[in-house]
């Protein structure tokens, strides 16, 4: 009698304990067929820095022809009370939806100056507020240049009478854990049968700095700038015309878009074609560490910061 009582008591206690523990932490959604759904459009945004060009903190005018990022394992979450990336913790959600499982390479410069954010994928998801997002920056295997790169930058850099044709490949695989999108509007609130956006934002001014905000601004204090990279350019002065298209300079380069990089006058240009390994060898240790940190810091959700898992 005594042992039967203890046994039954223990079984019930264990059952309640396990039931209480279930669902704590990350949980994948068991979407009911009857659950109301809407469309969540995952977009990637390089902002005007990528689309229109900008002036770096050290005075270089940068214009991009191609800005590729390779993404994967993108997941949207519903988190009670929101996710604060500053706490450096994992995302604990009551619902999560994987929006992109395979890797996908996106050109953030696609579409010209007036282009909107680049659509990555639209997914039918249960209605609700997706206020957290995570994604991986994955290596792209391509034998053409900087094999295994996560980010590719192609364009021009101009300062005074000096012009560089730049082709940079960064290889820093990592994972971003982000909270709610911070911007003019709120994003991620999916209503039944409606379409809403969830945005991954990439701040390339974090690498090169932004002259418009002043030298004392935090972003410029942390940014590498462009001058240390320009010092690594290989000189081939006088061999090419400033007006020559990118495709004549390097075989894999794209034709410049209309309205960009249209140097009318003849002159000289240098090439800056470097991968991550080159940069680690040619930059000073301090400059390279600054570059690494700046590259890791480009992932945002609007103006909202993300935590990084390397």
């Amino acid at each position: 009698m005594k042992y039967n009582f203890i046994k039954s008591n223990t079984i019930v206690f264990i059952f309640l304990f396990l039931a209480g523990c279930s669902g704590v932490g990350n949980t994948s959604s068991n979407t009911s067929v009857m659950e109301s759904q809407g469309t969540l459009s995952l977009v990637a945004n390089g902002e005007d820095f990528v689309r229109k060009g900008f002036t770096t903190k050290d005075g270089w005018q940068i214009n991009f022809e191609r800005v590729e990022v390779t993404l994967g394992e993108v997941t949207a979450y519903q988190v009670a009370g929101g996710f604060n990336p500053e706490k450096k913790s994992l995302i604990k959600s009551h619902k999560s939806i994987q929006l992109l499982s395979d890797s996908k390479t996106i050109d953030l410069a696609k579409g010209g100056e007036s282009a909107k954010s680049i659509l990555v994928k639209a997914t039918q998801v249960p209605a609700g507020f997706y206020n957290a997002l995570s994604w991986n920056m994955l290596p792209k295997m391509d034998s053409a240049f900087a094999d295994g790169r996560t980010i590719l930058l192609e364009g021009t850099a101009i300062k005074g009478d000096r012009r560089l044709n730049l082709l940079l490949g960064f290889n820093q695989p990592l994972k971003y854990l982000c909270g709610e999108f911070i911007g003019d509007s709120r994003k991620g609130m999916v209503k039944t049968s409606e379409n809403t956006e969830l945005e991954m934002t990439f701040h390339f001014d974090h690498i090169f700095g932004d002259q418009t905000v002043g030298a004392e601004a935090e972003i410029n204090q942390k940014a590498l700038g462009f001058e240390p990279l320009a010092n690594l350019a290989s000189s081939d002065r006088g061999r090419r015309s400033l007006a020559s298209p990118a495709s004549e300079r390097v075989p894999w380069a794209r034709q410049p878009r209309q309205g960009r990089s249209s140097f009318a006058r003849q002159g000289t240009s240098d090439n800056l074609k470097l991968g991550q390994q080159d940069l680690s060898q040619k930059l000073s240790l301090e400059a390279y560490q600054k570059l690494e940190n700046a590259i890791a810091g480009i992932g945002h959700v609007g103006e909202g910061h993300c935590s990084i898992v390397k």
């Binding site: 206690f13 304990f17 209480g20 009370g81 706490k87 709120r186």
Partner: protein, 161 residues
Amino acid sequence: MKNWQILLVVALSSFRTEPLLAHGAKIQYGNTNAIIIRATYDDGTPMKQAQAVVYAPNAPTVPWMKGITDHKGQFTFIPDPSISGNWDVKVRQSGHGSIVSIPIQKGLIASKNKPEVAGVKLLTNNSDLTFLQKIIMAAAGVWGFLGTALFFSRKPVNEKK
């Protein structure tokens, strides 16, 4: 105008107890429960003159109130006590921003530790446990006490024999 009409106007006017003044001003005061948030950058510098937007729980995509933080990075608002739920406050400045979700019941913060903006990061202590999980945890606790009490109140085995 007849005399009785003039007298009536004068008589009615004499009933006014307050002087009639142009550009009058009144100041009233009272107690209320306000929410104060503080926004700072990562290094602790206050986000001065930053844009603050408040969203009420019943319309989370429509700004309920807009304002500007003061020189300490602080922003104060008084939530409508009739709207309970998570009130969200977004603070933005110069490409930086964050949002905090403040649980409010009947105008008061429904949390032991008050959420605070720290470095555009607003600290919340909201538990991620669902209501069902809380009920099950409570039931497990009660069952534990009950089981223990029953165990010690049992009759000795040798008495039965």
